[in-house]
């Protein structure tokens, strides 16, 4: 029989207590148990980055982590990126730059780029391209994703005072 364990964590700021199978991946936990289906699975072997979420502020691959590993942690998913109905600056820039087509890779790309922007205020195009190398996208050819991320960084520097916190993960 499958073994189960209880975990306590926060997801997008909300406390969550759940009983999970020990072999359940974090991505499947979010998708199937919490119905946060914004986190996508493109390969389930750690290469495509579609499953990227934040755990305690760091971008991780939801397909390579087990749900039991987030016990006590703060998890943030794409659903926690925007403030209610208003798109976050990065999401808005993605829309303006046509940085998504089918949108399947997009949640993971957003989480990777948001994590990158949290740590880099004034990146070059090369920096962004490098940071994007862990996410595969078959539709866009990446150029618009780089442009959108750079635009967000620029606007963030210009409007530093009003820039929203990168928080929401409780960490």
């Amino acid at each position: 029989m499958a073994t189960t364990r209880q975990i306590d964590c926060t997801v997008n700021g909300e406390p969550v207590t759940a009983t999970v199978e020990t072999r359940l991946t974090l991505a499947d936990f979010l998708r199937d148990q919490l119905t946060l289906t914004g986190t996508h699975l493109g390969c389930e072997h750690g290469v495509c980055g579609a499953c990227t979420v934040h755990v305690d502020g760091a971008a991780v691959r939801g397909c390579l982590m087990l749900a039991v590993q987030v016990d006590g942690s703060a998890v943030r998913t794409v659903e926690g990126l925007s403030d209610g109905d208003a798109l976050s600056p990065l999401q808005q820039a993605f829309r303006e730059n046509h940085a998504l087509q089918c949108g399947f890779c997009t949640p993971g790309v957003l989480m990777s780029m948001q994590s990158f922007l949290d740590e880099h205020t004034n990146p070059t195009a090369n920096d962004v391209t490098e940071a994007l190398s862990g996410n595969l996208c078959r539709c866009t050819g990446y150029a618009a994703v780089v442009a959108a991320t750079l635009q967000t960084a620029r606007d963030g520097v210009e409007h530093h005072d009003q820039s929203p916190t990168s928080g929401g993960n409780g960490s």
């Binding site: 029989m1 499958a2 199978e21 072999r23 359940l24 998708r31 199937d32 119905t35 946060l36 289906t37 914004g38 986190t39 996508h40 699975l41 493109g42 390969c43 389930e44 072997h45 290469v47 495509c48 579609a50 998913t77 794409v78 659903e79 990126l81 925007s82 798109l87 999401q91 993605f94 829309r95 303006e96 046509h98 998504l100 087509q101 089918c102 949108g103 399947f104 890779c105 997009t106 949640p107 957003l110 391209t129 490098e130 994007l132 190398s133 996410n135 595969l136 996208c137 078959r138 539709c139 866009t140 050819g141 990446y142 150029a143 618009a144 994703v145 780089v146």
Partner: protein, 779 residues
Amino acid sequence: MSYFGNRVQRREDPALLTGHGRFIADHQPPGTVHAAFTRSPLAHARIRSVDLSAARAVPGVLAVYTHDDLPGLPKGARLPLHVPNAAITKPHTQAPLADGEVCFAGEAVAVVVAENSYVAEDAAALVAVEYDDLPPVSDIESALNGGHPSHADDADNVAAQLTVGYGDVDTAFAEAAHVVQATLKPHRGGGHAMECRGVLAQPDADGHNLTVRSGTQAPHLVKRSIMDVLGLSGDQVRVIAPPDVGGGFGPKAIVYPEDIIVPALARALGRPVKWIEDRREHFLCTTQERDQIWTVEMALNGDGTLRGLRGTMAHDSGAYLPWGVIMPYISATTTPGPYVLPAYQLHVTCVLTNTVPTTPVRGAGRPQAVFAIERLLDQAADQIGLDRADIRRRNLIPADQMPYEVGLTYRDGSPVIYDSGDYPATLEAGLERAEYTSFAERQRAGRAEGRLLGIGMAFYVEGTGLGPFEGAAVRVQQDGRIVVQTSAAPQGQSHQTVLAQLAADQLGVDIDQVSVVTGDTATMPIGIGTFASRIAVNAGSSVHVAAREVRQKIVDLAAAVLEVDAKDVELADGEVQVAGVPGSGRTFGELARIAQGMPGFSMPGGTAPGLMADSYFSPKRSTYAHGFHVAEIEIDPETGAVDIIHYVVVHDCGKVINPMVVDGQVQGGLAHGVGNALLEVMRYDTSAQPTTTTFADYLLPEAADVPVADVVHLESPTDLNPLGIKGAGEGGTIPAAAAVIAAIENAVAETGVRINHHPVTPAEIHHILHTAAPAEVSA
């Protein structure tokens, strides 16, 4: 203002950006159970026995079936051949579950249904199958020369042969001043949409009817196939392609075993059954393009003008022919491209191998043909002593010869007639943007610093917007909103936005007043599918025509209600009024209510009931888009790595509905072409075992691999549809490999090595630089 031609923001985006897209795996109706497949580990074998007992004993397993006992699956059932052709002598299609013999590694042998996918996969691994090995056929060469068949009952591996051409090739070669010959081995991997396939089938309460969601490019094809194979009638099956499908690129345009089996399971168990493909299955079971071998020669006059082209092409069909010979046929009819080619003959042999079937992937056989003729032109230029741009200049079809009849019949059965385009202008625009004339200087300066620069170019002409049709229905609802329904299903191409633009323009409303419903067999009775860059032309024109008709109905009804002449009525912002009399009018919603009729009353002024219309625009023939790519690259002599430093795309797809969307298609298509040129190899070993089955082995382009396309837009409208548009989905891909490989060859020109295959890896380039010999190429 008009939406047509503007960079209208996508209506798809907000949900997708916030994690609220609805992809197939996101659908989980209550009571859903999960299917997993037991797949053949061998490429070719006979099934001796299957023992399901261990799998059935796993707690949480509801059912385990094979071909012989799956309820509702007729014994001997095969998937349909979607596009039959008289040239096909071995019309093999796959059994939904293997029927005695397996012909590629990954073919489904048994299926398990369980409470969740983890348990289903556990149990699928416990299905015990005993096989008797049969000799496998791993590639084209072993198919033609290996001496054993890929299907046990066949005498050989030739599935189809066809000859395509026109003109007198023998005379052309007899009289030629120059002849160049080459064997070319273009390789293309898979489509690799980031979302794998998936199917969810839900029976209704009495088990009679079925709603099937499939992550497909062609919901109507899936419906017809379910009806055919399971013997159901049309009213029993509804197929919906979810509005969010994570990329298509061709492989999702055919019908797969899972599209049949999952519905059969749902009927057998009376519960919603779901199957989501994983990436390994995608590598094993989802169709690819893989290999062609072209052995061709080109005849030229002394001045470099073309006399003829002839030769053979062998095409790897894989184990089955779900899409018939469409892809090699497209290849064969693409070869003449933008050039005046007086005589042409290509013999095509489609071979069966024990590998996953091949069907079109973005570009659909065209990149290979472009590779063949463009590589031959470069070789001829060198042999004759002409500049590579010059030889193209001398052969391009002059603008004043449009429309130009090539002499071939296209895949849609119509003659290949290039409808519009100024090819010489396209060439010059690309050369200018690429600063071609000063390249030699850049190259020399680079050499002096130990840098290896190269430039390459390739031209293409692409038949797009082929028929027969893709329908649309437009209606005004009683709340005044406009609903557009279309059979077309999107996978990222922005149908929600582009089709709404067209309807909003015709009806003079804000785009937010328009809803678009896609890919549902319950709303549109017939449909073809989203592939071959055909939706903007077909569905777009249908929306345009239907919306125009609705507009007329609005005007007629308003005239009757307002008791004025139709010509005195004007539409603005969802209202209709007497021209020049503000406040005189009615809203669309009010008119829609009137048009719905009142019980027992006649329609006002004899107008037709309902503010609605549908249209199945059917183009006379394909419309031909074209373009020209120039790649400038630098090779790192230490590692052999290729850096694409400037990439020019001249792109002409006629009029453009939404330039932002077209730019996205070009850039994304280019990424795919770069993958084909430098990275993507789907490898099978000699026992036909696939050896590249993860994204660690099979390399997709990453951000740093893809140049930012420097795009020059040209516009040669067509009169083959009311919008003047052509397809834009594949032009970024089609000539990219040819241009990039030409640039690599140019960068290593001092070695004298000709590169007539792709992809070309850094290791190979390193090898060429150090041995002045091409590396061994596996076909």
